[in-house]
Symmetry: D3
Subunit: 130 residues, 6 copies
């Protein structure tokens, strides 16, 4: 059993591992602390599932929740953790059958947006990269 300061540091480390950046203090600061402490410091760091498997679970759950802003974040996390665009798209295609066409059409629209912004940022020709 560890001290609170331990879990916060561990949470920040897992957060960085997943999202590839520091937690942004932009949104509500207290909820950010809870997210780092509980979700990343105590749940994502538990055994039995790898971080990549946890992202597969999170990506699925967030796509089903149809909250675009959050979905953008987890598509970014999946890419950061090394999931290919094809694999992300494939998860969403499978969700057409487990959550319905609206979930998949919405998810693919968000994914295309994220991919296009990345291509624009890196000057990559989108037709090539996919």
């Amino acid at each position: 059993m560890d001290r609170p300061v331990d879990r916060h540091e561990r949470g920040e480390a897992v957060f960085r591992q997943v999202f590839g950046r520091e937690p942004r203090p932009g949104s509500h600061p207290e909820f950010l602390r809870i997210t780092v402490d509980h979700l990343f410091g105590e749940i994502w760091s538990r055994p039995h599932l790898s971080v990549e498997e946890r992202e597969l679970v999170a990506l699925t759950a967030v796509a089903l929740a149809r909250t675009d802003w959050e979905l953008r974040g987890h598509i970014g996390a999946a890419l950061h953790l090394g999931m290919s665009r094809e694999k992300i798209v494939e998860v969403i295609i499978q969700l057409a059958y487990y959550g319905g066409w609206p979930v998949a059409n919405n998810g693919l629209r968000v994914a295309q947006d994220v991919f296009a912004e990345l291509d624009a940022a890196t000057g990559t020709d989108a037709d090539h990269d996919r």
Copy 2:
């Protein structure tokens, strides 16, 4: 592009791989055929995700849908594909944070039932096996 008969046979093979049994003609026969043809013959057999990864996505989606009967089936499938009880429980614990406590409490209750029935069927002492 393959002939309809091909996808049905492939669907049955993938179904057996996932659930460890033949598709049961018990429920509605036409929907069973669609399930084998579309879902298993054309989706689960697509590239980019392994069958184990697809089960992780399906288990997540079905736990979030809170349809107990279906969830029992996918907990069985996960076990058949070699996912440990600890890992199944861990997916559901993570869903407490991505889908809410009611999803997790419901999912763990179903999981405990499935595990207990398996232990009863095999004469295993539950306290041991877990």
Copy 3:
């Protein structure tokens, strides 16, 4: 604009038309009155949709909500309004694609139960009737 007594009587009449029986005072009496007054007396009796079309909308919504007890009631209502078993099953099959496989598997299971009970009650051989 009609008097409260009018809408209650109209609500009871529409309720009988849809479900083929009197509203049962069994459950919470005040909510039953609200259901008869608002839902059947003022909404189901509005123009632009026939009662059969409204049942198609209600059956779809209730199947997606995955509340079995309520779904049983609306499968009964659909049958009472003359919708065939094939048509009810077809709505649920379409919902596999618009709400996901858990919705359809759950809905078909409930439908099979309702059909089997009806066959048992009328002494019909299920294999014949379908």
Copy 4:
């Protein structure tokens, strides 16, 4: 049992019948092919429900899913298939009672947007047309 090429052609024909336009290759091409093949080539073309009834089911499901972009598409499809604006609004009003006020307020806002854009495109005075 038909060859894959048949279902794709039939799917395109049903898609055109429902949406009044060719499938747009804009979004993810592989999911578009699956949508045409499975959803329109094999499900919308099944018996027991007319295309108008299937649109009533789809419109209901998509309004309940609260995915605005998809809902815009199905309000357009409903209009194309001859459903009046009053009837579309009436479906959404009924959903206030079967899916809750947030579903209805969201759906009516999207419907008003679609109607206003159509009026702007055709130079119709909105106050007249409704």
Copy 5:
């Protein structure tokens, strides 16, 4: 049992009490009338729950429904009824655990937008007011 005109007037009064403004005839006029008559004239005016408690229930339900436009309205209503910003945020934080992180992240984003607009409108320094 009151006459229809009574419930409409009562509904308008409760609507003003909750939202601090007249019902806006901007959106669909018939649904606005139903909202005033049924929801505010007959439900919000029932006994056993105070208007503040009803807003707590409504805010919770609308945050879980993830319909941003509606959520903005109920955050405004909660503020108008005297709920502090801290309390509104606290409801959404609790919903992280009862509805999942996507619900809370989405809700807090909407709340921050509403608070920021209010601060901009009143010339308040956001850092002060919170």
Copy 6:
């Protein structure tokens, strides 16, 4: 910032305050610990909402989630915290309008069951007590 042992003891105290009993080690022990530590030790014990207000939020969320077993628990908690049967029923009636009729019909059915069991256990005549 407190030590882990503090939050666990505080969590157990809040749990007892809400449910009127010790946490039952019956279900999954690790998730029970997380529930006591995170949900009750760190969230229910935060400021800005009273325990009674938090139960109103939880009851609403769980009724909307349609997980009967969990709903039974929170109806029991609400009663234990002093919420009257009329008030619990009233929350569910309001949810007919914010989450749809299936949510309310399901919730009222569960509530009637809980009330009837309590009456049977205490030998109270149900017609009297309500």
